[in-house]
């Protein structure tokens, strides 16, 4: 026999729950157990139940909400009110939607430009005229253009898509910029032979890198910085 102790034996729901739990462990179809229900002792402060295992007891408590039906445990049908729906919306639905929106913003990206587009733009800057800015600027140098194309092909597609800005410089070099919404950026300039760049995070002083070789190892390092933006 299983002995249960309750604070208030007059609580029919509590008694029903106790028996319900008992029946979960020993369903009516089992031949080895029987469930019985004995009313609590009236007039005492602490009620104690002694439950024996009889099928009759199981049927007696079925009026508490058809806990058992066809040998299966059945929960009471939940009741929804307008207040509970509002609570659900305010505490679960809306924060959940907001969470999903934030996730989407973090993982989604705006495609600014493709690899092919970038290469075409670099080539287009080669066709700029002398004095293209009115102050003596020269067109993009052939070697700087080649350096830029080589650099672009080392980059991952997602890194290229995140380019914020690019432009030729008056002395014949080429610049690329990656920037996030917090004004943190990596700005890079490619010359005829090497490149330089700086990284600016808001939490620290800018870091400067000069005379960098244009190879996959260095480009991977630069890509890591860009991913951190």
């Amino acid at each position: 026999m299983t002995e249960y102790k309750l604070e208030d034996g007059n609580d029919m729901d509590s008694r029903g729950l106790e028996l319900y739990l008992e029946n979960i462990e020993n369903p009516p179809s089992s031949t080895s157990t029987q469930i019985s229900y004995k009313p609590p002792m009236v007039g005492t402060g602490i009620k104690r139940f002694f439950i024996t295992e009889t099928l009759a007891g199981t049927l007696a408590i079925s009026s508490l909400g058809n806990v058992f039906k066809d040998g299966r445990v059945k929960l009471k049908t939940p009741v929804f009110s307008e207040n509970s729906l509002n609570d659900y919306n305010n505490t679960i639905e809306e924060p959940h939607d907001e969470y999903i929106d934030t996730l989407n913003k973090l993982i989604s990206h705006k495609v600014n430009i493709t690899r092919v587009d970038m290469v075409e733009r670099v080539m287009a800057f080669r066709s700029l005229n002398q004095n293209w800015d009115g102050y003596g600027a020269i067109p993009l140098e052939v070697k700087s253009a080649a350096n830029a194309v080589r650099f672009i092909y080392f980059l991952n597609d997602r890194i290229i898509e995140r380019i914020s800005d690019f432009h030729p410089n008056p002395n014949g070099t080429f610049s690329l910029v990656w920037e996030n919404e917090f004004d943190e950026r990596l700005a890079l300039e490619l010359g005829n032979n090497t490149l330089s760049y700086y990284v600016k995070f808001n939490s620290q002083d800018p870091m400067f890198f000069n005379d960098i070789e244009n190879n996959d190892k260095e480009v991977n390092r630069i890509s890591d910085f860009i991913k951190a933006l």
């Binding site: 800015d133 008056p170 002395n171």
Partner: protein
């Protein structure tokens, strides 16, 4: 005859003082030192100097040519926006992606705050001309050292952009240039 000669000499004398000119500016001797509060205007061209959003400037607007540490600007406290516009339109070349767009505005103080300087360098046709100097002479085909690139970028980001609402007009029709 003598009167004619005297009038002619008077006109030459007044012209040499440059008190009057076609642009209508009241030309006076400018102080050599560019004071911190002075407004410094850079003429901006599109699309080469302007980002795709047309609300911000590319840093190549504040880059000088190879072999020179100088970025041409104007001391706007002593000349009108119309003068600056007319000067800019003289060197525009729309077919070469260099159409006059408007101005980038800084103060001398902002320029000096990033570690650059602005010096008064009047020219034959522009008495209000000045040069921004970053302290490094760029070489042809050689990338700028990252420290100077950062300086130029900070200056660019501090610049306030004034798009011209009517570039085709000969007069500046935009708002007052206030930093």
């Amino acid at each position: 005859m003598i009167l004619k000669t005297m009038i002619k000499k008077l006109i030459e004398f007044l012209t040499s003082l440059k008190l009057f000119n076609k642009n209508g500016t009241n030309k006076v001797n400018l102080p050599i030192y560019v004071d911190n509060p002075e407004k410094i205007v850079k003429v901006i061209f599109s699309p080469l100097n302007v980002k795709s959003d047309r609300k911000s400037i590319k840093s190549n607007a504040y880059r000088g040519p190879a072999g020179k540490d100088e970025v041409s600007v104007m001391r706007q406290d002593y000349c009108s926006p119309t003068f600056c516009k007319q000067h800019g339109k003289k060197i525009q070349a729309p077919k070469e992606k260099k159409a006059y767009f408007g101005f980038g505005l800084l103060t001398a103080e902002k320029i000096r705050n990033v570690g650059a300087n602005v010096e008064y360098t009047p020219e034959e046709h522009n008495d209000f001309h000045a040069d921004i100097k970053i302290g490094y002479i760029p070489e042809k085909g050689q990338e700028l050292p990252a420290e100077y690139k950062y300086k130029v970028d900070e200056m660019t980001n501090a610049s306030k952009i004034y798009p011209d609402p009517n570039p085709d007009s000969n007069e500046w029709e935009g708002e007052d240039l206030i930093y």
